[in-house]
């Protein structure tokens, strides 16, 4: 492989990685604060992609506006689902495993309701970006890929800053780390968990619009991508935001380069094998390697 080709592939891998990172981040935040593995996370992403597509089919808006609309819709849907379904189950002391099974039900429900609303045809977004590639010497990079990477990564950094530097963000972190103490310090747990779902939904919604603009939006786009995003988050280290970003980028690269060695029919198998291996050998993920506590 030529070096220029290598760079082009790597940039593409980073773009996919940013999308995995955005979704995986949501998985991470939810599992850290509630213990719930949110199987419907991929569908929340899909809702953003579908709604964004619907809006842009009505009114031609700029890409950033569509991105914000998709984020808002997914975020609200996610928070609403938490408050109406999962919260109601938590209040009634339903075992965690049942809530996790209910998230699988939610995933099926969201997919099929979306199919009834938007149909089963994949929808393609209008072309937002210039078709001409940027050239840096022998390297050709499409503006779209670059933008997806920049926007995705930018959002993750924004979120990290929000969590680290704002009062609400710090309260969220505290509630995730030690709910009872946080509650004693005056953090409203219902509100903070709802906010966690809102934020993770917004990140997933952004991923949906970014992904939709690269390929297409369809009712069943979410599940496998959601699982792969979880693989990425596990690779980085479940529960860690930086880990989700790191895991996303590395997994994006792995997926982009693996067809060079393995038949493309087994593309998804790479991620799944990786998942099983990490869970068995390195449960703390890559981040766990550096911050090993007693």
């Amino acid at each position: 492989m030529q070096p220029s080709q290598l760079v082009e592939l790597a940039v593409g891998g980073f773009a996919t990685g940013a999308i995995y990172g955005l979704i995986g981040l949501g998985f991470s935040m939810i599992i850290r604060s509630t213990g719930i593995l949110h199987f419907a996370q991929g569908e929340i992403m899909m809702l953003g992609a579908m709604f964004g597509w619907m809006v842009v089919a009505w009114i031609p808006l700029s890409f950033v506006v569509v991105l914000l609309i998709g984020m808002l819709f997914s975020g609200l849907a996610s928070a609403l689902i938490y408050l109406v379904v999962y919260r109601a189950m938590q209040v009634r002391d339903i075992p965690l495993m049942n809530i996790v099974i209910a998230t699988i039900g939610m995933s099926i429900l969201l997919q099929n309701v979306s199919m009834l609303i938007w149909g089963s045809e994949p929808m393609s977004y209008p072309k937002f970006f210039a078709v001409e590639t940027y050239r840096m010497g022998p390297v050709h990079i499409s503006p779209q890929v670059l933008w997806v990477f920049a926007l995705g990564f930018g959002l993750m950094i924004l979120l990290q800053a929000f969590l680290a530097f704002t009062r609400t963000g710090i309260a969220l972190q505290a509630a995730a780390q030690d709910p009872e103490t946080a509650q004693l310090m005056g953090v409203d747990l219902t509100r903070s968990t709802a906010l966690t779902f809102l934020i993770s939904g917004m990140m997933a919604g952004a991923a949906g619009v970014l992904l939709g603009s690269m390929f297409f939006a369809s009712f069943n786009m979410g599940f496998i991508i959601g699982i792969k995003a979880f693989v990425a988050a596990t690779l980085g280290g479940v529960g860690s935001i930086g880990g989700a970003m790191l895991g996303g980028l590395i997994f994006g690269l792995i997926e982009t380069f693996s067809p060079q060695w393995i038949s493309s029919g087994y593309r998804d198998a790479v991620g799944m094998t990786l998942l099983i291996l990490i869970l068995l050998a390195l449960p703390g993920g890559l981040v766990g390697l550096f911050s090993r506590r007693s």
Binding site: M97, N98, I101, A102, G105, N112, M272, L275, L279, P283
Partner: protein, 335 residues
């Protein structure tokens, strides 16, 4: 009110089992339509794999999303053996169960994983197996599928549609009885202890990981048998039938029927397989309904349809007592 306990009196259980068995024996004799018999047999095959899932989820607390993989391994093993190598059906039946069980052994380390991580790891395994089924065309026929699988035969006797039905019923009854005995034994009590308090069970000398892995392998074995029956029942295998959606479908059967009840797994399987057949008009709503049912039943507690039946019987008994004695009396059975 969070989780209702399922509780039936001994008579109710006996009557329930007798009625169910009588219905299943009589069904193909009363209604001779081939399609009806075909679908009922399909429901029984589903029920066998649901029983395996129940042993995992309801009796050892393991949320496995890998059952489709074992189902697929069983189905393809038997299909390939009988079609390509002329292996007699009964031998292939045993081998297909063993193949699924052995493949689950490779996953045994995964049973160390807890809760949601087990779910996602077994989901990953299902995705890998379905990719193998799709891509290894030389062995499995790839996405064209494996066609013209021979009918099951016992010695010189080739089974008809009705014969397959009774074969499925026989296996179902056998697995049901075996599992009931299993969960009632020392083994079952150890599982119960693990479910109640894993740490306490471990400190009383129960090898938790070993027990969980044993359940995992037994469930895979039974699911492999179910897969073999499926192969010879539909006589055509397609990788689409063994995707992770199949695992989720098996999960729905158990969750809707009632987690923690062997009978519940069977009832759930019949509901999941038969409901769409009788709700053709709402074909596209099928999955919407199942998704909603899954959330609803999980929200109500975990005892599913069986729990609802139990509650109804409890109320009926209470009403009867009230009529007989004029006042409610505390019974031996609590809801």
């Amino acid at each position: 009110m969070a989780t209702r306990r399922v509780d039936f009196s001994a008579t109710e259980i006996l009557v329930g089992r007798a009625v169910a068995l009588a219905i299943l024996i009589a069904a193909p004799l009363v209604n001779g339509q081939l399609y009806f018999i075909h679908v009922m047999a399909l429901a029984m095959i589903a029920a066998i794999s649901a029983l395996g899932m129940q042993l995992l989820l309801g009796f050892s607390g393991q949320l496995s999303m890998g059952q489709a993989a074992f189902f697929g391994i069983g189905a393809y093993t038997s299909g390939i053996l009988t079609k390509n190598f002329g292996v007699p059906f009964l031998v292939a039946f045993v081998i297909s169960g063993l193949a699924a069980a052995i493949s689950s052994l490779t996953l045994a380390p995964i049973t160390r994983l807890r809760g949601v991580y087990l779910a996602i790891a077994t989901l990953g395994f299902t995705i890998i197996v379905s990719l193998v089924l799709r891509n290894e065309e030389w062995l499995t026929g790839g996405s064209f599928g494996l066609m013209a699988i021979p009918r099951p035969s016992v010695g010189p006797l080739v089974l008809s549609e009705k014969g397959i039905y009774f074969l499925c019923l026989l296996v179902l009854v056998f697995v049901y009885v075996a599992f009931n005995r299993l969960v009632d034994s020392r083994f079952g009590r150890a599982l119960q202890a693990i479910m109640l308090d894993e740490v306490a069970a471990r400190s009383s000398g129960i090898n938790v990981t070993l027990y969980k892995s044993k359940c995992f392998v037994i469930a895979a074995l039974v699911t492999g048998f179910a897969g073999c029956l499926f192969a010879h029942h539909s006589r055509y295998l397609n990788p689409d039938d063994f995707s992770f959606w199949k695992s989720i479908e098996i999960l729905i059967m158990v969750a809707v029927g009632g987690i923690g009840s062997m009978a519940g797994a069977i009832i759930g399987a019949f509901v999941v397989v038969l409901l769409p057949e009788y709700l053709r008009a709402v074909e596209e709503w099928r999955l919407v309904i199942f998704g909603a049912l899954l959330i609803l039943f999980m929200g109500l507690g975990q005892s599913g349809i069986v729990g609802l039946i139990s509650l109804t019987l409890f109320r009926a008994r209470a009403a009867l007592r009230k009529r007989a004695h004029g006042l409610p009396r505390s019974g031996s059975v609590s809801p």
